[in-house]
Every structure is written in structure tokens, then in C-alpha cells.
Amino acid sequence: MIGSAKEKVLSQLSRVFIYILLFICAVYFLLPIFVMIITSLKDIDEIKNGNLLALPETITFQPWIEAWGEARIGPKAEGIKPYFVNSILITVPAVLISCIIGALNGYVFSKWKFKGSEVFFSLLLFGCFIPFQVVLLPMSQTIGMMGISGSVFGLIFVHVIYGTAFTTLFFRNFYVSIPTELINAAKIDGAGFFRIFYKILLPVSLPIFMVCIIWQMTQIWNEFLFGITFSDADTQPVTVALNNLVNSTSTVKKYNVDMAAALIAVAPTLIAYIISGKYFVKGLMAGAVK
């Protein structure tokens, strides 16, 4: 009797311990974003005299206004806004195109297999894993020859090319789980390739489209290597512009403006994650080749 009471206390204690630990970890994970937010709301004198974790004494939105529309990035002093727009112009078409191609590919690789399609898929899968440094030099030659070097089109092109392997993988793994009997029955009824896709697969594809869109959006919005290699001063995506702002040596460092700009740069993917984290997690798991 005494033993079991003791055990109960012990197990209660260990649960409290677990909660405390989880809470401390949560604080640690949130610390950087907390520091970003409070720093972006302080004026520069307060940053110089205060400390990292102190809440702002007087809240100012000046750094946000400056980061958005006034900060000097490269030759222009128009803030991060034009580059934010570039990222939208790159991300939206690249995500849509790569998801549509991926859906059709995945449909073929799961439901219309042909001789060699498995080998083809395996070779494509390898494309998900190559370090992009190995295609950087040929790609810069190629988009130069195509006459889209330094343009938004060049970047959309590159992202579609190297995103397709992933989107194909997502859709293929999803469509594999849909019973082939359904497809075969429809084939017997005389339904063709597109009709089956439209009538049977598309109506159940919303979740996988969400996974794919969220995944591609996060990847492309956050991408840096292609962005810095294939863009001009005018077409830089927001990640490249943020790096130029943060690592600029010419002007006096304004950490509050840096932090506001960083928060603006992460806002789209962070919001997408908060709203639809479920799909984000599924994308991560699928990316791990389940």
C-alpha cells in the first residue's frame, strides 16, 4: 500500500519534470523569434544601451517602415518590398507549374505504369538528392543561352525543373494508395486517361495538393543558392536581398531594421505553417521517402 502510494507520487513527479523540460525547450525554440520581434520594435539607442532580452521601453514601428520601403539594399533605397514582390512572382508560378506536372507524373507512375517506368522513377528520385552545386555552372550557361539569365523567368524555370522530382514523388506515393480496382473498373467502362484522372483521382487529391503546395512554397520562398546565382540586382528574391541588407558593410548597422526585414521575409512561410502545419508535417515525412 505504502509502496504504491510512493510510486504514484514518483510518477506524478516525473510527469511534472517532463512538463518543465518540454516548457524549457519550447522557450529555447521560441527565443530567436522573440528576440527578432522585440529587437525590431526598439530604436537603435535602446539596442546599444540595453540588452538582448529586454522588452522595448518605447515601441517604435520605424524599423518596420524602413525595412519595408526605405532601407538601402544594393544600389536602391527602396527597402525589401521590391524583392518581396520578386519572390511572389517567382514562387507562385513555380509552385503551381511544378505541382500540376507532379500530379500528372504521379498519376502515370502509380496507375499507368509502363515498361521502364519504375527505373525512370528511381532515376528521377535521385534528382531530389543531388547537391545543386553540381548543376550550377551548366545551368548558368544554359539560361544565358536561352536569354533568360538574370530574369524572373530564369528562376521560375530552375525551380520548376528541380522541384518536379519532389512533386512527382509526393503524388506518386499518394496515388499508389488509391485502389487500382477503381481505375480498372473505369477502364472497362471505357473511361480514358484524363477522364479517370478528372473523375476519380482529382476529387480526392485536395490533401496531397495542399502538402505539395505548402512544401514547394516553403522550399522556393526560402531558397538562396539559385537565387543568388541566377538573379540580377532587380530580380533578386527576398532571401538574397535580406542577406545583402544584413551583410552590407557600407552603412551603419541598424539591427532593428535587419530584424524587421527578416520577419517580413519569413512571414509568408511562417503564416502558412501556422495555418496548415498538418500539411507541412506530411510533406516533411513524404520528403523522407516513406
Binding site: L22, A26, F29, P32, I33, V35, I47, N51, L52, I101, N105, Y107, W112, E118, S122, L123, L124, L125, F126, G127, F129, I130, P131, F132, Q133, V134, V135, L137, P138, M139, T164, A165, G192, F193, T218, N222, E223, F224, L225, T229, T239, V240, L242, N243, V246, N247, D258, M259, A262, A265, V266, T269, L270, A272, Y273, G277, V281, L284, M285, A288
Partner: protein, 292 residues
């Protein structure tokens, strides 16, 4: 007429994947080959296709900075993977104890994965800056001799990159392992409990060994992330102080574009590909066999 139509219909699936096939052949395998050809030339600022043999590879292997970059990658990847696995496992186990607000905790641990390395590197660089960051904070708290200046110390700077990278990717390992934990049958665990085994012992002896395949996947993906790491270093240290945080990815970029040694950069990219292949090819082979 009818058979012609039938033929057309049979070819639709192949027609649909043809563009992807061409993309793959040209932009993945063709480009790898092209890059290989470039690495066998003397190209400087522009590509020249005169054969120079393995000259660039010999130059690479005699380049002290390349070995430094490789050494950095070894330190970075081993500690990055080790800590991610350790913290990811602990978080997964704790979260798996029928915790209240599990969703909120999970969301918090994973959110860094949704952010760009450039943005998170910006804030880590600021927090690790001795003048404004943690060091300054501790001094103001009264610890006057506290120093934490790793980011400007060429011996220690690589560890600051590891701190930021582990923070960013631990949540991912947690999610993978949590899914693994939830897939384990409870019968064996309950039997062990009845036999009086303690929970830590059950985890160590029964549960963790069953997570082997998940650990394997996690290691491959983290390794792949480590070899590709580029933006985080660029924004935090630009490879410095000196050359102390340069990784092969940065080395390749620097020589190809800033120092205009295309062929030399191409050869370093081939070596990067080689290392990725060593790990990824057996992994994909195993995954694909498992599925078919």
C-alpha cells in the same frame, strides 16, 4: 482507324511523362556530365573545352583550403547529426508520454523548419554577437567576466553554425521519430512492464532498437542537409573569420563565381556529388526495393 486511336490512347501516359523525362535526362544527368566535362578543362571565367585531364582534381587535393573545408564539413555534419538525433529523440520520447497540449509543443519545436536559413541566421548572428548578444546580456546581469565570442573566434566559429543548424532541424527529427514511436506495438512494452522493467530500460532495450530504420532515414536526410548547407554560413560568418567556417558548398561557389576558376569549382562540385552518392544511392536502393 480504331487501332490507331487505341495506339494514341495507349501512348498518352508516356506522352505525359516525356517532358519530365527530357528534363531529367538534360538537366539532371546531362548537367552532371557537362559539369564533369568542365572539371576536365582549364576554364577560368568562361568555359573552354580544351581537355586538361585530371589537373583540377590534383590541384584540389593539393589545396589546403579544400581540406580545411572538408574538415569543417566533417566536424559540422557529425555534431549536427549527433545533436539533432539526441535532442530529437528526447523530445519525441517526452512528447509521447500522453502530454497535454501536445500539438502546441510540436508546433513550437518544428516551426524553425518553415523559415529560411538566411532569416534564422540573421537572428543567430545577432544573438551570438559578443557586443550585443548573449555575452553582453550576461555581463549586464552581473557576470562581468562572462565571454561568449565563438562567432568571432576562428577556432570556435564552426560551432556557432552547428548551434543554429541544430536549433533549426531538431524538430524535424522529432517528428520522424515520433511517427516511429507511434508505430511500435504496445504488447511487448506492456509485457515488459508487467515483468517489472523500468521505463528507461524499456526505452533503451526495446523501443529505441526498433527505431533503427527511422534513425537511418533521419541520418541520411540530415547528412544530405549538412552537405548542402550554404545559406546559413553565408549569412552568419561568410565563411570567416578567415577561412574557418568554409564548407565545400561555399568553396565551390567562391572559386566558381568570385575567383573565376570555373573548372576548379566544377571539380569540387563533382567531389560533393560523389559524397552524396556514397550515402544516398544505397539508401534509395533499399527504399525502392522495400516498396516493390
Amino acid at each position: 482507324m480504331k487501332s490507331k486511336l487505341k495506339f494514341l490512347e495507349d501512348s498518352i501516359p508516356k506522352l505525359i511523362v516525356t517532358p519530365t523525362f527530357l528534363i531529367m535526362v538534360i538537366f539532371i544527368y546531362g548537367f552532371i556530365f557537362w559539369n564533369f566535362i568542365l572539371s576536365l578543362t582549364n576554364s577560368k571565367i568562361l568555359p573552354l573545352y580544351t581537355f586538361a585531364g585530371l589537373k583540377q582534381y590534383f590541384a584540389l587535393f593539393n589545396n589546403m583550403k579544400w581540406w580545411l573545408a572538408m574538415e569543417n564539413l566533417l566536424i559540422f555534419s557529425s555534431l549536427f547529426i549527433g545533436f539533432c538525433l539526441l535532442f530529437g529523440l528526447l523530445l519525441a520520447i517526452f512528447i509521447d508520454q500522453k502530454i497535454r497540449f501536445e500539438g502546441i509543443f510540436r508546433t513550437i519545436y518544428l516551426y524553425p523548419m518553415a523559415l529560411s536559413f538566411i532569416a534564422t541566421g540573421t537572428v543567430w548572428q545577432w544573438m551570438l554577437n559578443p557586443g550585443f548578444g548573449l555575452e553582453n546580456f550576461m555581463i549586464q546581469m552581473g557576470f562581468e567576466n562572462f565571454t561568449f565570442d565563438w562567432i568571432v573566434d576562428s577556432e570556435m566559429a564552426i560551432y556557432t553554425i552547428i548551434i543554429a543548424a541544430v536549433w533549426q532541424s531538431t524538430g524535424f527529427v522529432m517528428v520522424l521519430l515520433l511517427a516511429g514511436l507511434r508505430g511500435i506495438s504496445h504488447e511487448v512494452i506492456n509485457a515488459a512492464k508487467i515483468d517489472g522493467a523500468s521505463m528507461p530500460r524499456i526505452y533503451w532495450k526495446i523501443i529505441i532498437p526498433q527505431l533503427g530504420p527511422v534513425f537511418f532515414s533521419a541520418v541520411i536526410i540530415l547528412l544530405h542537409l549538412a552537405i548542402k548547407t550554404f545559406d546559413l554560413v553565408i549569412v552568419m560568418t561568410k565563411g570567416g573569420p578567415g577561412f574557418s567556417t568554409v564548407l565545400p558548398s561555399i568553396f565551390m561557389f567562391d572559386y566558381s563565381f568570385a575567383r573565376n576558376k570555373l573548372a576548379f569549382g566544377a571539380s569540387s562540385a563533382m567531389i560533393m556529388l560523389f559524397f552524396v552518392m556514397i550515402f544516398v544511392v544505397p539508401y534509395l536502393y533499399r527504399e525502392l526495393r522495400k516498396n516493390s
